[in-house]
Symmetry: C2
Subunit: 147 residues, 2 copies
Amino acid sequence: MRPIGLVRSAYTATSQIPKGLGASHSAEGVLEIAPEFEEGLTDIEGFSHLFVVWMFDRAQGFDLMSRPPSDDRPHGVFTTRSPRRPNPIGLTVVELLGRDGPRLRVRGIDMLDGTPILDIKPYLSSIPEDQLRRGWLDEAEARAQKQ
Amino acid sequence: MRPIGLVRSAYTATSQIPKGLGASHSAEGVLEIAPEFEEGLTDIEGFSHLFVVWMFDRAQGFDLMSRPPSDDRPHGVFTTRSPRRPNPIGLTVVELLGRDGPRLRVRGIDMLDGTPILDIKPYLSSIPEDQLRRGWLDEAEARAQKQ
């Protein structure tokens, strides 16, 4: 595994990244792809949304149970987006705003500046919202609304 | 990077996996998580859909331009799901049907039997279909409908 590029983001500390219930990820940033991989972006302008696969390069170690910022109870790490995972891989859906050669301007950044990008994939289809169940997150939201 | 488990699938050769325009991924299979990571699945039963991050462990090398099965024209590899990518990482959305200890029964498998799993993440929200643009894939579908 080697980076294909780096995230350019306004976030330099994890404390700056919106987290928890109702956090909105509307920050803009740039996916800066290394020149030797630029040809792999051919035709990407036609896509509105992309998956970005990246490395939690500043996380160390992992926990199998994780206490997410959106709940006061611990849950299995594979039901959370915690950085402390057995393989420190991150996944973010971004909206593609524009391209300038090897630089993709995107909205929806929740990564730190300098984060290594491992892969970019096209976002091709969605699960309809009414078919989604989101386990403990739905329950935490319901509890928060009652309060 | 080390596998957290393996995919159990009916597919033993890539030629068996549905591909191209209109391909439907409704195959069922099992995500077999290694015992030492099972605790990380705690509370996963509440989620209807999961992201599976996995390794294209039988792909070798990569191409920056890729000719996908859904089109007769080459496109940048980062706009396709080609296995021949700079980092051989796969991403699949599956529906969680049930759990038996460290075994997750899922629908939507498009991986080969024995594929190493790197990570599992909760699927928390969707981009509405009417906001999606899918570049060359939309164009290839439109051409196919005209014929």
